[in-house]
């Protein structure tokens, strides 16, 4: 179960907004996370707490194919992103890096900044605790939930292979 405070954004939040291209040669999620949303919300890094949730409207993650975009969001401590729609490459990258995404228009419309959301990935249930409302998003297929819970595609493969994950952070 994911439970966190909401940070709300509008439509077309692009990959350069998520992480400015000038940081594209970094790969440490924690270092990247410090610069999350820097171009459009310079104080985001200070406001965000571990486990918080980003809520946005349409086409979240448009732009670059750089996988550091979902890595940055995770590195900033964000536990999930709920949006009305996601850009294609970002959607695939988020699964591969273990960042949970949920598409649900109703949640986005009914949620204000600072609200507390509870998300059950296995059922797709999203509860706005602050407003006492419950919504159903389309859940991921089981293998994707497993993959995300493991921390991404590589981690999931490693787990299956029974090896020790030596990744930093």
């Amino acid at each position: 179960m994911i439970r966190g405070k909401v940070h709300k954004f509008g439509k077309n939040i692009d990959t350069d907004a998520i992480i400015a291209s000038k940081y594209a040669n970094l790969s440490d999620p924690l270092e990247l996370g410090k610069h999350c949303m820097e171009n459009i919300d310079p104080d985001f890094g200070k406001r965000v707490d571990k486990g918080d949730i980003i809520v946005a409207t349409t086409n979240f993650g448009c732009g670059s194919s750089r996988e550091i975009a979902p890595m940055t969001i995770k590195g900033a401590g964000v536990a999930a992103v709920v949006a009305k729609s996601f850009a294609r490459i970002f959607f695939r990258n988020a699964i591969n890096t273990g960042l949970p995404l949920l598409e649900c228009t109703e949640v986005v419309d009914a949620t204000d900044p600072g609200d507390i959301l509870e998300i059950d990935l296995s059922t797709g249930t999203v509860r706005n605790v602050t407003k006492n409302l419950t919504f159903s998003a389309v859940p991921y297929p089981e293998f994707v939930t497993e993959l995300i819970t493991a921390g991404g595609l590589v981690e999931s493969v490693m787990k299956k292979m029974g090896r020790e994950d030596k990744s930093p952070g």
Partner: protein
């Protein structure tokens, strides 16, 4: 039921006679591409999972084009790692330094992509190769690692949207103006998850360079790929650049489309995309007085010889306006040399332009032309997101080379007819 060109290429690589939108397929790839900012993550994962080698050293392409010539120590170290990987795995197509150009101009020029191919690249503008009648799409580093090792990867077959273009092109108007027009019309998510297919007499009239520009920006409308029918110009281009066998696929007359747009080329004007989205499109004539500090002519979108020729035509005998930097970035060494031979470099230097080595550089705020707070640029690049070329409070206006060159002379966004 008929299939589109995109569906046919995907089906052929999945060993199937028929596929339809929404279907998940496991398909063979002909080429896997990564660059100096996306390969490092791929290589980390490659090691982590203990992969032994790549599926085919001739079919993995590594291009050091983004933050090169290396802009800082971190970039230099990334390139070093990739260089060592390329040597260890005997990667045939590793590009760096004097043989390196901007990947999406370089690969077609080197003949590495031909019609009918299926290409994945860890770069969103991989969709450029659709101009050759290939299926090409951008992915992240993890997917790229998988493709690089296995030689195949899963795809969801996209729905297709057709843009049928007819009519005669007005003077100065190029592929950039068409694609900006289309993105302005459908929005930055207007083609989300979809294949964008361009056809019609007006498209046949376009040069290959213009077609590359159009396919390149399919991603700016959210598209999975952009794709063109193979015609005489495509074949001439492939024969001049490649020895690889190609395969021509064509959409069936009864192929299914999510939408079909009719676009009258004669009505398309010289367009610019205003800050801070590629869909914020206005014609130059309706724009008013927009003062600028910098012009960038280059990138995987518009750094080809056609683009430099257009810029040279306008800049010849003129001077870049005082206080303005005009940076010209030929996209590949071959384009660089051709521009030099054609005398464009003299024109650019006489006008007061800076000529940069091939690099993505300023397009993504890397180096070679970063904007200060409050500065404004006209660029022939593909994205004008907030802070894309530098400070979060700088601005980028996207345009074709004619408008960019005219703007450099006038010190404001200008129409070439004003010169």
């Amino acid at each position: 039921m008929g299939m589109t060109i995109t569906e046919k290429i995907l089906a052929s690589h999945a060993g199937k006679d028929f596929v339809e939108p929404g279907e998940i397929i496991d398909a063979q790839i002909d080429l896997a591409l990564a660059n100096d900012i996306t390969a490092p993550l791929s290589l980390e994962e490659f090691e982590k999972v203990g992969a032994k080698g790549v599926f085919d050293p001739d079919k993995v392409v590594l291009v050091m084009d983004h933050f090169t010539p290396n802009k800082d120590i971190l970039s230099a170290e990334n390139c070093k790692k990739i260089r060592e990987f390329a040597a260890a795995h005997r990667i045939t197509h590793f590009y760096e330094g004097g043989n390196c150009g901007i990947e999406h101009a370089l690969l077609p020029e080197q003949g590495l992509v031909v019609a009918g191919d299926l290409v994945i690249g860890a770069d969103s503008h991989t969709c450029t190769y659709g101009a050759l009648g290939a299926f090409a799409t951008g992915m992240g580093s993890t997917d790229l690692t998988y493709g690089m090792v296995k030689g195949r990867i899963w795809f969801k077959v996209p729905e297709s949207i057709k843009f049928h273009c007819y009519g005669k092109w007005p003077k100065w108007v190029t592929g950039k103006d068409l694609i900006l027009h289309i993105i302005g019309m459908i929005g930055v998510d207007g083609a989300l998850y979809a294949a964008m297919e361009f056809d019609g007499e007006a498209v046949s009239a376009l040069s290959m360079d213009s077609r590359f520009t159009i396919a390149n920006m399919a991603i700016e409308a959210g598209g999975k790929n952009g794709i063109f029918k193979v015609d005489g110009k495509t074949v001439t281009y492939m024969n001049a650049h490649s020895k690889k066998p190609y395969k021509v696929f064509e959409s069936d007359p009864d192929a299914r489309y999510r939408q079909v747009f009719e676009v009258d080329a004669s009505k398309i004007e010289l367009n610019v995309a205003c800050p801070s989205l590629p869909s914020n499109v206005k014609s130059v004539r309706e724009l008013g007085d927009v003062a600028i500090d910098q012009v960038v002519i280059g990138s995987c979108t518009n750094g080809r010889i056609d683009d430099l020729q257009t810029a040279a035509k306008i800049l010849e005998g003129n001077k870049v306006s005082g206080g303005i930097r005009c940076i010209i970035i030929p996209a590949t060494p071959r384009i660089y040399r051709q521009a030099m031979r054609e005398g464009y470099f003299d024109i650019f230097l006489d006008a007061g332009c800076v000529i940069s080595p091939p690099t993505c550089g300023p397009c993504l705020g890397g180096h070679m032309g970063i904007l200060a707070k409050g500065e404004r640029a006209v660029a022939t690049t593909n994205r004008n997101f907030i802070g894309r070329m530098g400070h979060p409070q700088s601005e980028v206006y996207l345009a074709g080379p004619a408008v960019a060159a005219a703007s450099a002379i006038k010190g404001r966004i200008a129409h070439p007819e004003e010169i």
